[in-house]
């Protein structure tokens, strides 16, 4: 089975007073093992609600979500699913529980009932993976936002998940912190083969993904590779989403009659194209 996540006709409704709100409206999609997927859309598009279905924080009103072939609506599966799919949230301060970095990373494995020797090994490896080994004995509140987020990620990796779901992990970080976190996540995807689902509204973070899903009003309205998605400059702008500046420039140059592909995403590609 090469599917990490299977979503079949997922609908999620909640009630606000006596109004029924459809936060997710009949979404079907698959995510393959080892893929790096970005889900973009603005606030209220349903992307965070979708994310919460991926480790059984929310259960579908109708339809099915399978994580590593386990049905999330079966309560018996909940803990196994959370071990497979770890989640990282926006605010690093809400996720760290311990007073020492390495204890925080050990929290998850401890709750899984893993023996102490194995926990030690996992914590060391996880901290090494996110390049935070030298901070193992530090207090989390003394770290920068980017460092805290990497500790939160280490806490997830120590549980040996097959999949990490990140819900706007960099929204509260400065550019350097943002880069630290994204570099870490890409490395985990490439070296450890962990499936990554990154929910974001920073388009530059989606540029290197294998696949992008664009959400609006609870539906997936576009899906494809970054080049396929970002060449729809007009459509993305209508949705109130940003387009990477290089793609926008390529689009503008093309309008001026220049023979240039609208599939340019990075500065490097643009330089090579214009001035080889």
């Amino acid at each position: 089975m090469d599917k990490m996540i299977r979503i079949e006709n997922l609908t999620f409704e909640y009630t606000d007073g006596d109004r029924v709100v459809k936060a997710i409206d009949n979404v079907s999609l698959d995510i393959k093992k080892g893929e790096f997927v970005a889900i973009i859309g603005h606030n209220g598009s349903g992307k965070s609600t979708l994310a919460k279905h991926l480790n059984a924080i929310l259960i579908p009103t109708s339809g099915k979500v399978f994580v590593a072939d386990m049905d999330t609506s079966d309560i018996e599966n909940t803990w196994a699913i959370r071990q497979v799919a770890g989640m990282v949230f926006q605010n690093p301060d809400n996720q760290l529980v311990a007073t020492v970095v390495e204890e925080d990373v050990a929290f998850g494995p401890e709750n899984l009932g893993i023996e102490p020797k194995e926990i030690r090994a996992r914590v060391d490896e996880a901290l090494k993976n996110v390049r935070m080994t030298e901070f193992a004995k530090k207090a989390p509140h003394l770290l920068s936002g980017g460092q805290k987020q990497r500790v939160a990620i280490a806490g997830i990796i120590a549980m040996k998940p097959q999949c990490i779901v990140l819900d706007e992990p960099t929204a509260m970080l400065d550019p350097r912190g943002r880069k630290e976190v994204m570099d870490t996540v890409y490395r985990l995807n490439q070296e450890e083969k962990i499936t990554v689902i990154n929910i974001t509204h920073f388009m530059e973070e989606a540029v290197n993904a294998d696949k992008i899903f664009v959400m609006e009003n609870g539906r997936v309205i576009m899906q494809g590779t970054p080049t396929e998605i970002f060449k729809e400059v007009k459509k993305l702008k209508e949705l109130g989403l940003d387009v990477p500046q290089m793609t926008e420039l390529a689009y503008e140059l093309k309008e001026e009659g220049l023979d240039i592909s609208s599939e340019i995403l990075t500065v490097e590609e643009m330089v090579n194209k214009l001035w080889p």
Partner: protein, 287 residues
């Protein structure tokens, strides 16, 4: 002159093992009605600096004059300072506390001892400029609103104080592109309508370059650069070194210039880079 800062030094925990110098002889002048973008990496001292401007922090040494009032002198009235300088913190929506939106926005002005009528005018005005419907929302609880709307209520609460100088610390953090654009448009509107001096703290060069008259770059507790966006972005390399980065189009212009395409040095928008590229490619063709 709206703000004059002279040799401002701030040392946290002086005399203890945790002693650290957050501001090291900062000198700045900000004109009336100027729109300033204050940027710097986390730990550069920008938050420490703005907390001095409305008297939340006292300098270790140095002076700050706000419209000729020395706010660092011992006998200064902090109420006077806060009437002049409004500070909107990061994630200000977490500071809402009243039962209704009206009461929350009216809280600051009520403490100034204004008449009910005057307070109502101010609340209405502040809600209008932040895009909040007065009739529809005044009796609603702020906690029923979306995050972006709650942030507007928090900003309106500061505006209702009618400050001469408005400081906003990362007002668009955590918002999506649409929410970000709306808030920035409203800030621009405030600047235009009341000629308020604005200091906008941000990490985003893209946001700042479109809006401000002047960018002040902080690094390691000191002012590293001060100038128009065009002047500042010439130092693209240095900005990247200090963890800031420049807009991607500026990065492109720098790369192209290094490769030998003679692009002008002071381009900062997509539009400008586009016309420079077209000019160069066409002259190359004709050569």
């Amino acid at each position: 002159m709206a703000v004059i800062i002279k040799d401002l030094v701030h040392i946290y925990n002086p005399g203890s093992p945790f002693e650290s110098t957050a501001l090291n002889k900062v000198n700045l002048e900000i004109n009336d009605g100027e729109f300033i973008g204050l940027i710097g990496h986390t730990g550069s001292g920008k938050s420490t600096l703005i907390q001095h401007l409305n008297g939340l922090l006292k300098p270790s040494s140095g002076k700050i004059l706000i419209n000729d009032l020395d706010i660092t002198s011992k006998d200064v009235s902090l109420t006077e300072v806060r009437k002049k300088v409004g500070l909107v913190f990061q994630y200000p929506e977490y500071q809402l506390f009243e039962e209704t939106i009206y009461k929350d926005i009216a809280f600051g002005p009520s403490n100034l001892g204004l008449s009910e009528a005057e307070i109502e005018i101010r609340v209405k005005d502040a809600m209008e400029i932040t895009g909040l419907d007065y009739e529809l929302l005044k009796e609603r609880s702020p906690f029923e609103l979306s995050g972006g709307q709650r942030r507007r209520v928090a900003i309106a609460g500061v505006l209702a104080m009618r400050p001469d100088i408005l400081i906003l610390d990362e007002p668009t953090a955590g918002l999506d592109p649409r929410g970000r654009d709306e808030i920035l448009r409203e800030i621009k509107e405030i600047h235009k309508k009341h000629n308020t001096t604005i200091i906008l703290v941000s990490h985003s060069m893209e946001d700042i370059s479109k809006l401000v008259d002047r960018i002040i770059v902080m690094n390691k507790g000191a002012v590293e650069y001060s100038g128009t966006p065009r002047e500042i972005f010439r130092y693209g390399k240095r900005l990247t070194e200090i963890g800031l980065g420049v807009p991607k189009v500026v990065e492109l212009a720098i790369s192209l210039r290094e490769k030998g395409m003679p692009i002008k040095e002071d381009v900062i928008t997509i539009e400008e880079v586009k016309s420079e590229i077209l000019r160069n490619l066409r002259s190359k063709k004709n050569a």
